[in-house]
Symmetry: D2
Subunit: 355 residues, 4 copies
C-alpha cells in the first residue's frame, strides 16, 4: 500500500522500470483547472535523461498519455490518470540481480520483502524512472499553484564538495532563469565546477551525490496542520519517496543546531501592512504552519549506486561472497534530474495544504 499517498489530494504511483508502463493517478483536484500540456511536457523534460554528455544515454520520451480526468484540457473533477509507456527497455536478463544484489540499491531488501517475486528489471518499482510519474502530478499542481500566485523553484545546491550559493531565503531569486537551465544553479561558475566534477567521476566509472534546494514563494500564511500534518511532515514524507534521498532540512536546518536562539529566531516586522520576518531561518514554517515567508528546504541525494567499478557483494543462491561489475552506462549524478522531482514534491504538498 506504500505507493498510495492519501491526504486531501491522493497520489497513486505505479509501474516498474521495464514493465509495460509507469504512471500516476491524482485525485482531489478542483474541477475546471486548465492543464497546459506543452508547459507540462516542458517541465517533464527537465527531469528527462539523455540531455547531457554525462547522463544515461537511455532515451525516454516521457510523453504521458492521459487516460482520465482531463476533458478539453480542463480537469473535470474525476481522478487524473496518466501513463508513460516503457518503450526503450532493453530485453535482457536481469535475473542475476536477484542473486547478486547491487550495493546501495534496493535489490537485496526487495528480495527479502518479496521473496524473489519482485520485478528486478531496471530496478522495478524502485527505479528512479518512477519519478517521471511523480513529476506529472507535480507539473499539474505547479500550474494550478501558479494561477494562485504560488511559485516553486529549485537548483542544484551541491555536487560532491562543490556547492552552489543558496537561495536568499528572504528575497528568493527569480525562478524563471533556473527553469530554463539544463543545469540549474544560482552561481554559474559553481555550476561549471560541478559539471567538471561529474565528468571526472564519470570517466572513473564512479558516481557522485549532491544536494537540491527548493523554495516556494507567494505562499499564504496559515497552511498546514499541527503535529503530524505540518508542512515539514508532509514534504518530508513525500521527499523520501524519491529514490536516493537520505536527508531533508527546512530553513537553517542542520545549521540551526549550531546556533543560539538569539541568532536563529527570526524577528517579526511590518512591511506594507504585512507581517514578515527579517531573516528566515525558520524556512517559512513555524509549528508546522506556513508563516507567509518563502518556504525553503534542501534534500541530500546520495551518489547513484550504479557504478561500473567492481564491487563486493554476495551470491544469495550460493551463500557466499561475489564480485559485481554493473554493465551499461548510468547517470554518474542524478542531482540535476532530482531538481524537478523536488519541485514536484513541494508542489504536491503545498497545493494539498491549500485545498
Amino acid at each position: 500500500m506504500g505507493s498510495v499517498w492519501k491526504n486531501k489530494l491522493s497520489l497513486s504511483i505505479f509501474g516498474q522500470s521495464h514493465g509495460e508502463a509507469i504512471g500516476m493517478m491524482l485525485d482531489g483536484l478542483p474541477a475546471g483547472e486548465a492543464i497546459d500540456m506543452a508547459e507540462l511536457q516542458q517541465y517533464l523534460s527537465r527531469r528527462a535523461p539523455g540531455k547531457f554528455p554525462w547522463a544515461t544515454p537511455r532515451k525516454e520520451d516521457d510523453v504521458p498519455e492521459f487516460l482520465s480526468g482531463v476533458v478539453d484540457g480542463m480537469t473535470c473533477g474525476a481522478p487524473i490518470t496518466a501513463v508513460i509507456r516503457n518503450t526503450n527497455t532493453i530485453s535482457k536478463d536481469y535475473s542475476g540481480l536477484k542473486d547478486v544484489p547491487r550495493p546501495g540499491h534496493a535489490d537485496y531488501t526487495a528480495q527479502v520483502k518479496y521473496g524473489g517475486f519482485q520485478d528486478v528489471a531496471g530496478g522495478g518499482h524502485f527505479s528512479g524512472r518512477l519519478t517521471a510519474a511523480f513529476c506529472i502530478a507535480g507539473g499539474i499542481c505547479l500550474q494550478i499553484l501558479q494561477r494562485r500566485g504560488v511559485r516553486v523553484g529549485g537548483h542544484v545546491a551541491a555536487v560532491g564538495g562543490e556547492a552552489d550559493t543558496l537561495f536568499d531565503p528572504v528575497n528568493v531569486q527569480d525562478f524563471a532563469k533556473l527553469d530554463r537551465m539544463d543545469f540549474p544553479v544560482l552561481d554559474e561558475s559553481a555550476g561549471a565546477r560541478m559539471v567538471e566534477l561529474i565528468d571526472l567521476v564519470r570517466g572513473e566509472g564512479d558516481s557522485v551525490g549532491g544536494m537540491v534546494e527548493v523554495a516556494v514563494t507567494g505562499l499564504p500564511s496559515g497552511l498546514g496542520e499541527p503535529m503530524f500534518d505540518g508542512m515539514e511532515n508532509q514534504i518530508a514524507k513525500l521527499a523520501f519517496a524519491i529514490p536516493g534521498v537520505k536527508g531533508v532540512e527546512f530553513g537553517a536546518g542542520f545549521e540551526a543546531a549550531k546556533k543560539r536562539g538569539s541568532e536563529n529566531n527570526d524577528p517579526f516586522y511590518y512591511k506594507n501592512g504585512q507581517v514578515l520576518t527579517k531573516t528566515n531561518h525558520h524556512g517559512g514554517i513555524l509549528g508546522g504552519i506556513t508563516s507567509g515567508m518563502p518556504l525553503v528546504f534542501r534534500t541530500a541525494i546520495k551518489p547513484t549506486p550504479s557504478i561500473s567499478v567492481e564491487q563486493d557483494s554476495v551470491s544469495l543462491s550460493r551463500g557466499e561472497a561475489a564480485k559485481l561489475a554493473i554493465k551499461g552506462r548510468h547517470d554518474p549524478c542524478i542531482v540535476p534530474r532530482a531538481v524537478p522531482c523536488m519541485v514536484a514534491v513541494a508542489a504536491v504538498a503545498v497545493l494539498d495544504a491549500m485545498l
Copy 2:
C-alpha cells in the same frame, strides 16, 4: 486532523500546555502485551524537565493515568489512552502573546490559522510539553520491541558547535549506559563541554540548538513499504511532530551528498549465514526497506526560541513594531530532553512496520 497519525497503529495526541491535561491514545497494539509501569515511568523521566541546574524549573510529574486499554498490566486489544494532568500551571495572563508573537514560536502562525481562538497559554497545543504524551506511546512500543529483540537508543550528538562522537553504525554501542545518563553522550568529555556551553548560554539569557542521533538494532530485514510508506518517510513524518525539529537524515545523510558511489555504497558480505554490509552509509534502509543493519538517523533541533534577551516583534493589534522580552526561566537547551522523544519516534515507526 493533524494530531492523529493513522497507519497500522494509530496515535492520537491531545492537550494544551496549560489546559486540563495532555494525553495520547494508541490503537492497534496486539493484545496480551505486558506494560511495566515502573519501566515506563523511568523512561518518561528521561524527558522530564527540572533535572538539571540549567533546565526549566517547572516541575512536571508526568505520571500518566491510564484510562483504557490496559487490564491487569496487559494490553487488552482496545485503544490505550493515558493522560497527564497539568497541575503545575501558573495562572497568568498569556493574552499578550496573541498580540506580540514570540519570534521562532508558532504564536504568529497559530494566530493566523485559528483567528485568535488558539490557546496561547504555554504554547497551547504547540508546546513541547505535548511530547510527554508522545513518549508514553513510545515507551509502550519500546517495551514490546524489546521483547522482540529490537532495541532503540539515542544520544545528544551535538549542542551548538560541540559534537559528540557518532554511533558506529556497523556495531552500534550498547544503549544500557546511555539510558541511565542524565545527559546521554558517547564521549563524556564532549558531554562536559556541551553542559558547559549550555550553562554559558543560560547565563546570557540565550539558548542553543543541537542534534540527536538514534539507532535501532536487532531489526529484521524487509520492514517498510516502497515509495510513500518507507521507513524514512514514516520516521521523518513522525519526527517533525516534535517541536523544534528542522532536519532529519538517515545513515550518511547530508554527508552522502559529498561522497562518490564507490565510497557510499555498502558492500554486502556473509557472516554466520546472514547478509550484512561492511559499512552502513545507508543507515539500515535501502529503497525504504530495512536491510537488517542498524537503522540510524539524526535530527537537527533548533535552539529553544524562548529567550530572555529582548527581541524585535510586532504588535498585531496596533499594526506596528514592538519589543518583546520573555519572562520566566526556560530551557536553554532542549536537546537532552529531545533524546527520549526521538527514541519514541523510532519505536512507534518501527513497531508499526513490524505489525
Copy 3:
C-alpha cells in the same frame, strides 16, 4: 486501529465499559466555535439509560469532562478530548464470559481475536456504553451544524412489528418536538404500542429490535465525494460503529429494489429559483453527493442480545455445550437510546463533508 476514524475530521473513541473511563478525541474542527455545555448535556441525556421503567437501571451520569480543545467555551483548533468516568461499575467477576460466550455478543469473536486478553467486563470496548463517547462528538458537531442552518433529527421508526410513520422526505417534520420526547416518534399512538411491546418483552426476560430513522435538513447540495467517499459510504461506515446495527438504507432503500425507474426517479423542478425534487426516493443523495433535498436514512437495530432467558452456548475451556443465563437487568430495547447515536452519526458525517 479500528477505533480511529480519520477523514477531514478525526474521531478517536476509547474506553471499556467497566474500565476507568470512556472518551473521545475529535480533531479538525474549526477554531472559534462555541460549545454550549448545557445543550450538549441535554443532548447526551437523550442517550442516557435509566429514564424508563423498562430501561437498564444502571445510572450513568454521562457528564463529560473536557481535557483539551475548548477554551472559554470555544473550540481553540486543538483536538477536543472529553472523558466520562465509569463510576457506576459493579465490581464482580466477569471472567465467566471468557469461558461461556453470550450468544449475539462479541464475547466469542473478541476471545478469538484477542486471545483471552480482551476486557470482558460489561462488554469491554464493544459495549454500547461507548456510544456515549460518540454522542459527545455528535453533540458538538450538531451545534456547529445548527449555526450553519443544518438540522439533524431522528425517531424510533419501529420496535419489533410496531412501526411509526416515516418522515415525509420532501417536507421533513420539525425536529424540536422529537428532541424533547423521551420516546421520540411521529405517531404517538404507535409510540404507545411500542412502549407496551417493550414492557411485555421485558416481563418475559426477552428483548426486541427496531429501526431508527434520521433526517438532515438545510443541507447544501454538492457535499460528498464520488466512489468511496460519498455521503452514503461515510454514513454507513460510521453507523456500523454503533453496536447492534445490522443494516442501513438511504431514501427509499430496500423499497427501491421493488420499484420501477419511472416510480423511483425523483423529477426535478424549480421552486423560488432553487432546484428541488418532487419526491425524494434518493434520500437527498445522488452519486454519493447531496442534492439539497433532505438526507434520509434508516438503520436496523438488532434486539439486545443480553436476555435473562436461558440460552445455549459453549464452554470454551471444557470444549463442550453449556447453558447460560445472563444475570442482572438489561435494556429490553435499545432503540430509543440509539436515536441520538444515529443523529450523532449523521452530524459527524455531514459536518466532515462540509469542512
Copy 4:
C-alpha cells in the same frame, strides 16, 4: 480524493465512461500470487453487458491490459494497474445533460459539485461502467482468497417484487453453479419470473430494481477491527461505491429489527471441535469481527434511472421546467450485472482483513 480507498490494501479507481480508458490500481497484495488471466476474464464477463436480450446492446470487451504489478503471471509486490480502453463509445453530443439533468442520476449533483466541468458523457466518472475496474480488483482478490480456502458467491435475490430464495446462512449453497449462470439464482423458477418481469419492463421503456445477496464461506474467525473498521463498516463503505446501491444489510438485517433477542441470538455449539452457531442471524459478524460462520449480506439496487419514458426535469440554463426523454437503449435491470460487483466488494474487504 473519493476514488481512492486506502486500508491495508489500496484501491484506486479511475476513468470516465466515454473517456480514453477506465482502470484500477490495487496496491498491497502479497508478492508471488498467481493471477490466472483466463479465470479473471471469465469472472469479468459475468459483469459484461450485452449478454441478454434485455441488456444494453453496447458491447464492451472489458479485456484489461495490465500495466504494472504482474510479472510472468505472478504478483511482484508492486501495485497492480490494469486499464480497459473505451473503444465502443459513440461520439455524440452529451452537453444537453449539463442543462437538463436526468432524474435519479448524478448529473445534477455533479453539476453543482464540479461547476459544469464534469465529464457528462455516458455518466462520466459516475457511470456503472467503472464497476468493470472494481471487478478487476475483485477478481484478483477472489483468486487469492480461493487459495486460502475462502469462497465468495452471490445471486440475484430479487427483481422488483419477484424474490429468489435466500442463502441458507448456516449451510451456504455451492457457488459453482451460480458462477456459471447468466442469471444467477437459487430458485430457477423465480429466476424465470424475474426475467419475464425485466422483459415486460423493458417493453415499457422502464426499468426495475432488485436485490443482490452475497455469501462468503471458509472464513477464519477473528477478522475485522472493532468500531470503525469492522467487517460491516468496510463492506458497507465499499458497497456504496457501486452505483445504484441504496441499502446494505448483514445477516438477518432489517428483519432482525422485528425479532426478539431469544429468536435472533444464535446459540453456540461445538461441532468437530469447532465453535459454530446453530442459526446465523448475525451473518457471520459479531462486534464487527468474523465468527467463522458464513458472512452474508444483501444490497438494495435501485432501478436504473435511465428510462426512455418522458420525465420531468429542469433546464438549468433557462431556470425553468423541461421535459426529458432519454434516447438509446439502456439496461432495464442492472441487478444481474451487480452480482459480480458485490462479490468483488466482499472479496476486496475480506482479503484486506486477512492481510
